[in-house]
Each structure stands twice: as C-alpha cells, then as structure tokens.
C-alpha cells in the first residue's frame, strides 16, 4: 500500500540522510509482533490445509469437486468489486469537497464521517436492521406518508448488503483519498485552464490522474476488507449472499473441519494477493505513463 501512495505524481525528493541510524530498531517490536500473530498462523494454516486430517491435496480436490465453493468465491469477488466501485463513486466527491471547503467546515465533515467509527461493525449493522426492518423506521415513515400500504421487506437483499458495506467502509476510502487530494497543487488546475482546457478536461487530464494514487490506496483497503466481510452479509443478507468468509467460519465453528477451513482460507488469501498485486501493477503503470 505504501507503494501505491508513493507511485504517484507528486515530486517530493527523497531525503538522502536518515534521521538517525538506529531508526530501524524502533520498528523491531512491530515486526516481531507481526511475525508472531500473522506469519505464524498463516504458516500453520497453510500446513493444516495440506495435512489435516491426512497429508495430501484432498481438501483442495474437494473444493473443485463441489462447484458451490468456487461459486461462493466468485460471488464474494463480485460483491467486493461492486462495493469498492460504489464506495469510490460515493467517497470521491466527499473527499474532494473536504479539500475545497473552508478548513473549519472540512474538519466537521471529516469528523462526521468518523462518528460511526465509535461503534463496532456489529452495532452499526444492527442499527441498519432497526432502520430497514419490517417494523423499522423506514417502513414506518413510508406507511405514515402513505407511500406504501403494507410494510416492505428491505432486509435480506444483495443490494442491502452492498449498501451497508458501502456505509461501513466509506471512511476507510475517504481518508486516504482526502490525504492524496490535499497534496494536489491547485495552481496546476488554473494553469491547465489558462492553457485552454475546459473544466472537464482539467478534471480528466490533471485532477483525476493526480488523485489516482490516493484512489488506489483507498480502493485497495476497501477491496481487501470486502473479501473478509461476514458480519454484515450474515445479518443483512439472504441465502444468496453467502460470502467465502461465512463458509470458512462455518467450517471452523459448525463442521469442525479445520483442514477444509484452512484450504478455503488459503485460496481466499491467494485470491486477495493476486487481486492486490494486479491493482499495484496497474497503479505503477499508470504513474509511469
């Protein structure tokens, strides 16, 4: 992710002198922690997927023999793409607005964006159920206004899941994008205009390309989050909205089939890595153009 942020067009010279030579040591505790809580479990998971209950590839074979698992994976991927795109479309104008608003207004806008952070995803998802449920606020309002005669079920649709995920993930997108947009020198826009570019060309040729590093960072965060989402789809989705994370949970909790759970997790991890690498590749090409 570091790489995406740095791949951008801003021409900051890299300081040639380190602050002080021991700085690397300060990062050591975090590196150790990451090794213990991240690298080790992933290793165990990988090992499990090939050895539990007996050595061999049978867990992966099972995955291919039952197409339902790959279907769920594909559906999760589609969900991630849709939610990332929707978050980007909703979040970009917000981030842009925060850069042009007066500082005080921008601070309030960013603050409001973060209020939901104080509650956990579970609470926020339940809140949406309260709003969208049969006896929820939305139905109440629509009935009162006479727009509908019977309560409508807004829950358990794919669109509801997507809406909720966009709402939950928006801050993760807006913040890096806002940070990226802030570094764009606004005199470049004037310069482009003065050189004959109408407003939409200024946006397309100057503003958008310069905001890409931030956009990629934000999109990457959202995309990776989407792949692992299960609370929101579990609570708000219907039977068609099962994600790969939900299936994995079921293996560990319900079926107690750790080997198969590990194999599914490995595939999920591999897919995420491939997607991230592809996005990084695109970002790099774009900034070298």
């Amino acid at each position: 992710m570091m790489d995406v942020a740095l791949a951008g067009g801003t021409a900051q010279p890299v300081p040639s002198q380190r602050l002080f030579s021991g700085a690397g040591l300060l990062a050591l505790p975090l590196i150790v922690l990451l090794a213990v809580v991240y690298v080790c479990p992933v290793g165990v998971m990988l090992a499990d997927s090939f050895t539990d209950p007996q050595p061999g590839l049978q867990q992966y074979q099972r995955m291919i023999e039952h197409p339902v698992y790959l279907q769920v994976l594909a559906r999760t991927f589609r969900l991630a793409v849709v939610v990332t795109a929707a978050t980007a479309i909703c979040g970009f104008p917000v981030a842009y607005y925060c850069t042009i608003a007066r500082p005080a207004v921008a601070r309030i806008a960013l603050g409001l964006l973060f209020v939901p952070f104080w509650a956990s995803t579970v609470v926020r998802t339940y809140a949406l159920m309260v709003i969208l449920g049969r006896t929820g606020i939305l139905n109440g309002a629509l009935l009162w206004a006479g727009l509908i005669s019977r309560p409508t079920q807004f829950l358990f649709h794919t669109a509801t899941v997507q809406l909720a995920m966009v709402q939950i993930l928006l801050p993760f997108f807006v913040l890096p994008v806002y940070a990226g947009l802030r570094t764009i020198d606004l005199s470049l826009l004037s310069a482009a205009e003065g050189l004959g570019a109408p407003p939409w060309q200024v946006f397309r040729r100057i503003y958008l390309p310069l905001s890409l590093p931030g956009l990629f960072t934000g999109a990457l965060i959202v995309f990776v989050f989407c792949f692992g989402f299960f609370i929101t789809p579990t609570l708000l989705g219907g039977r068609r909205d099962v994600t790969i994370a939900m299936v994995i949970m079921a293996q560990f909790e319900g079926q107690l089939d750790w080997g198969f759970g590990a194999a599914l997790s490995t595939v999920l991890l591999a897919c995420t890595l491939v997607a991230v690498l592809m996005m990084l590749r695109v970002a790099k090409q774009d900034s070298n153009r």
Partner: protein
Amino acid sequence: MNMAADLGFSGAGVRSGTCLVLDRLTRSYPDGTVALRGLSLSVPAGRIVSLLGPSGSGKTTTLKMIAGFDKPDSGSITLAGRDISRTPPHMRDIGMVFQNYALFPHMSVFDNVAFPLRMRHRARRDIETVVQEALALVELQGVAARLPRQLSGGQQQRVALARAIVFRPQLLLMDEPLGALDRQLRKSVQSELKRLQRQLDLTVVYVTHDQEEAMFLSDEIAIVQNGQIVQCGAPAALYDAPESVFVAGFLGESNFLGGTLAEAGAGRAIVTLPDGRQMRGRSAAPMSAGRAVSVLIRPEKLQVHVASRAPGREVNVLAGRIDLVNFLGGAVEYEVDLDGPRLTARVHLRASAATFAVGDPVVLHVEPQDCLVFPTP
C-alpha cells in the same frame, strides 16, 4: 527554421497597435482588503510591460484578472479589441508562466508542452513538429521524455515558458518567473527571454519585485502602489523623471535631502536645507514657496572632489567627510557625512579618478538639472 515560418511559429515583425487594455479595474476581498482600486493599463502589441511594485500592491491580482482566474468587481479588460471580462480562462488565448512553474508532474516535458495544442485539437503531426520547435527554442530538445521532477530549476522554468508560448497566444503573462533561480542563472535567462520576445514578437506582461530586472527587460514599466498604477513609462523616463517620491525611491537608488522651498517658478526651484545651505534643482510638480520638499539626487550624479581642490562653482556644493567606502567592482560607493544629512555617491573607477579613504574631507557637487524637487508627501 523555414518550417517555423510555415507553421506560423516565428516572429512576424513588430506589430503595431494596442494588445491589451485594462480599464479601471477594482477588486476587494470579502475580508475588506482592497486589492485593486481603479487600475488602468494599456499594453502595446509586441512589447514587454512590467508591473513593478511592493509586496501586496496588487500585481498578482492584476495578472489573475487578465488570465481570468479572478473577476474584477468593476472595470473592463480588452484583448485585441475584444472585451474578455466575462470570457472563461480557457477561451482567452493567453499564455502564463507561474512563479512555481505549475508543470504537470505526471506528464513528460513533451506532453506538458503539447497540452495547449491538444486542448486546441491540433493534428497529431503538427503537434509533434511544433512541440519540438518550441523545445528547440528554449534549448531543451534532449529532455522531452523526462518528467518535470527530473529537471533542474532552470530547465523547469524553460519548459514552463515553452508551454506558455507554444500555442502562439496573443499575450504572455509572467508572474515573477525567475524568482526561484539563482542570480547567475537569472541574468542569462533574462537575456534569453528578451531574445525570444523579439524573435517571436511576443506581447508580455511581466511581474517582478526586482527593479533591475524590470529595467533590463521592459519596454515600459508600470509602477503599482496600493492597487493603482502611479506611473507608467519607458525605464529611462521613469528613472530620470519620476513623478513622485515613491516612484523615485522604488526605481533605482536615490538620496533624499529634506528642506524648504525658497523659490519656485518655470520648473526651477531653490531649496533651503535645514542648516541654511541652498540647493538649486528642477521641480517635479508645481509648488508654492515655503513648502516642505525633498530633493532627489541619484548616487551616480554626485561628483566627489578633494576638499582643497573644490570646483570653482558656488551652487550645489556641499562639504563633508567620507564616512564609509563600499567597493563594488567597477565602481566605488562613498557614503559622505554632511554634518547631519548623509549622501551616497557612486563613482566609476577610471585610471584618472581620485580615490578616497574613510575620514577624508571632500566636496560634493551636483548639477541643478540632476536635482529633482518633490513636495514631501
């Protein structure tokens, strides 16, 4: 360079007529700052006109108005006979070089320079030729493929210039374009700029803090003070006949002697200094006797003589003592203490010129036509 003529990318001889007219522009900001108070200016085609003035006097604001990035509260802007006051910036056909250059960091040098042509939907083949030509003009052919951050400050400055002139705008605006360059480089870029301006017959409005730069580059200098142009004219005219103490003080170096007007008439004035000595000079404005005045004397107009060999003249002779000697290379500057007032005299070093040391008694002399008398503001 024949191709240049074919594409219309070369000078067409000095045009005549007026390119740009600013008529009584005003602009105030919501916080109450008045940036422009009725600024008027006329820029002849094919000339460089510099806006010179102290910080905050409204130079940048004026350029923004011309470019269209800001709108005047009242007044009009006419470019080549067309009122452009309400025209959006991208339709004004004006090139601009920003102080920080504003090069597009994600585009190569070539793409930066090609940008205005692409926005004008020029044919691909044309673009290639015209861009290469513009880069050749600023001697940057070799770096077309680089990104701006891979260039030195001077090279970036030249890319910005190439980009601003590649589409042959009717007018070129430059806001302190050399501010970020070191002195050595500034000098050479100034000469280069002047050559290009003549070669391409550009009309330029140039903003600078630097009076030497303004005098070197400009056909005309407009002195801006407080959102107005207080005097406009050829550099020599402004230097020799400033209309106010402000202009005199801003352009070139100057000595001022305070006094009272003893006699005035027919453009001539006699001033009594506080110690009773009298000076003769030209009056810059009609004034009546008894008024407080300032006498302007340029340092190079003062002659320094050995005290014992005073010139056999009675007028404008001031005795004093050398207080400080500043060596400037080709010239030397003497600060002379006149028992109260101090004057700076600049003497070019020639083999025959006498030199003085600190403490030497001297006599200063200045011709009456080189003493300009202003009412003290």
